[in-house]
């Protein structure tokens, strides 16, 4: 009998309860347990532990279950609301993007036509269109950034406040 026999025996003791072992392994194990006090003791201790732990039932109270179910339902509703909001924000963003692209194209063509009629240099018209389109965004950024500096913590606070307002 060597160390690997004991290791094999302990593995088989662990496996036979749940995974199951073959008839040959069972026969070998039985003969090993007869001869080896240490492995037989482990098999017995495992059985005792199993019996002891199973004799200690733990039950959840009905109030715990009820509270959990209520919290989960509420949270599910919150998540659904958030998804709907995000979907609407996404739709709005896409529509805004389409509108901007379309109006930019029309504005560009219109200004080119005006430049031709009024004999203005094309570069001046192009600069005017770009400034006209970018100026509002730049103005808003200038106004907002000093108020909400984009450091990590302040941005997190800012986003949290926006989230609270949305709720």
């Amino acid at each position: 009998m060597n160390a690997s026999d004991h290791e094999r025996a302990r593995d088989l003791v662990l496996l036979r309860g749940i995974e199951g072992i073959s008839a040959g392994d069972a026969k070998w194990l039985d003969s090993h347990l007869v001869e080896c006090f240490e492995c037989a003791a482990f098999a017995e201790e495992l059985q005792l532990t199993t019996n002891a732990l199973r004799s200690m039932p733990v039950t959840a109270s009905s109030s715990l279950v009820g509270t959990t179910q209520a919290r989960v339902r509420q949270h599910a509703a919150d998540l659904r609301d958030r998804e709907v909001r995000l979907f609407l924000i996404g739709i709005s963003f896409c529509l805004g993007l389409l509108w901007s692209a379309g109006s930019m194209f029309i504005g560009w063509r219109l200004s080119a036509w005006l430049a031709e009629r009024l004999h203005i240099a094309p570069w001046a018209i192009a600069a005017g269109v770009v400034i006209f389109w970018l100026a509002p965004a730049v103005a808003v950024a200038i106004a907002v950034l000093p108020r909400y500096p984009m450091s990590y913590h302040s941005r997190a606070d800012w986003l949290a406040r926006i989230e609270e307002n949305l709720q």
Partner: protein, 200 residues
């Protein structure tokens, strides 16, 4: 209960696939049924892990919230209970990290309170007293056992998970699961002998 309800709706799907579909939809009725169905098993696992009922109850609720949020990740190819216990394991680890970064055992050392409810079913007062004493001895021994051993013991003995399932659930090699089972069982030996538990 859940199985019966589901099987009447879609008989061709497996139970796990049906649960996965319901979790993706965040179906509140199915979640209610799952909470009711797995209440005792989940709480028992968390109580063995934390050795504290109040903490276990908090983590019980937290686990189901996590199930709701991560439900879309359950693909229905493994048993639901295994996935549920893996979520519970992660919730407990996160809880511990928030409390203290050292080890799972600090959870037990830093908290007090009744770790287990041991219903007394013995008929006579003498036997009741004896049973209480035995249970108390076993409880004390379990609480002294490091959480990593309590965890594998409960997963193996109560949940009857395979060694590979336990290894996957708590992210350790199968050999380590075997070692922890062996050491856990042997560590409980004095308490079991003292408590007079015998082979049935």
């Amino acid at each position: 209960m859940v199985a019966t309800a589901f099987s009447s709706l879609v008989p061709m799907e497996t139970e796990e696939a049906r649960i996965a579909g319901a979790l993706r939809r965040r179906d509140p009725d199915v979640l209610d049924a799952l909470i009711a169905q797995y209440q005792h098993r989940l709480l028992r696992y968390l109580m063995h892990l934390t050795a504290n009922r109040a903490t276990a109850e908090d983590l019980f609720q937290e686990t189901w919230m996590r199930v709701l949020e991560k439900g879309h990740l359950y693909d229905g190819r493994s048993r639901f209970v295994t996935w549920l216990l893996a979520i519970a394991h992660n919730v407990a680890i996160d809880h511990l990290r928030r409390r203290s970064p050292a080890s799972l055992d600090e959870m037990q050392e830093n908290e007090d309170g009744a770790p287990f409810e041991v219903p007394d079913v013995r008929p006579s007062p003498f036997e009741q007293a004896a049973a209480k004493q035995e249970s108390a001895q076993l409880e004390a021994a379990l609480q002294q056992l490091p959480a990593i051993f309590r965890e594998v013991l409960t997963l193996r003995i109560h949940e009857q998970l395979k060694l590979e399932e336990i290894a996957k659930l708590i992210h350790i090699p199968v050999a380590t699961v075997k070692t922890r089972l062996y050491r856990g069982v042997m560590a409980l030996r004095p308490a079991l002998k003292g408590a007079g538990h015998e082979r049935l």
